[in-house]
Amino acid sequence: METGKGRALSWFIQRITGLILGFGVMFHFLMFHYFGYKVGLTFLEARDRLISPGWITFYTVLLGMAIFHGMNGLWGIFSDYNLKRKTKEQIEFLLYLFGFILFIVGGFILIRFNV
């Protein structure tokens, strides 16, 4: 188990992002699967939303928080198992890499609808 400032900060941010994600994900899910329920989403409908900076901001924040919460959560699971220092560093590197790739690809998807 790790101790210290980094660990406490990770715990705290995990709680805060979790609470914000709770509202964000509920909204995201209800919007697509309940309020606007229908089969399939068309490209034009998606573009109608993603043409506004407000929605792009909302999705970027949601994406970033989801990735951070997920990767930090996985790190929390790994740090429960007293792994060797080197293994832990490799896992941390992979988590950063995956998070970075997801954020970049997700971000490009969000701005892709505008072109």
């Binding site: 979790g18 609470l19 509920m26 399939g40 490209f43 990735i67 997920g70 690809v105």
Partner: protein
């Protein structure tokens, strides 16, 4: 060598769980399993949406893949998993921030009741009862 070590660890872990089935272990395990599933889902979600790079038609085709009985069921499973993780996460946060670990079992049952209500409502919505 490493593999057997890992298997032994996993066996110990599962055995410990089997011997300690309490509200705490149940919420701990479900929280982890659903959490890992979400990270996998996040990759799938972004992979699906990345079809937009291949044009509007490819985007709509990719989304229609999930308009099948399997896709609908997975969506439903995802909804349940999100509810479990969300309600349990709120429970953990309340207990952590307000120092309520003495009464965590009561909070488990409260969150279980909230989850049951969500399940009943969403089953009703799924089968178009209202």
């Amino acid at each position: 060598m490493e593999n057997t070590k890992f298997m032994n660890k996993a066996k110990t872990y599962l055995n410990d769980l089997r011997l300690n089935i309490t509200t705490g272990t149940i919420s701990h395990v479900t929280h982890r399993v659903t959490g890992i599933a979400f990270v996998i889902f996040l990759f799938l979600h972004i992979f699906t949406l990345s079809s937009v790079f291949r044009g509007p038609e490819a985007f709509e085709d990719a989304l229609l893949v999930y308009d099948s009985p399997l896709g609908r069921s997975l969506e439903f499973a995802l909804m349940f998993a999100v509810s479990i993780h969300l309600i349990n996460g709120v429970r953990i946060t309340i207990i952590d921030f307000l120092n309520l670990s003495q009464v965590h079992k009561r909070y488990f049952w409260i969150s279980f009741i909230v989850f049951s209500i969500i399940v009943i409502l969403s089953v009703a919505v799924f089968f178009r009862i209202f």
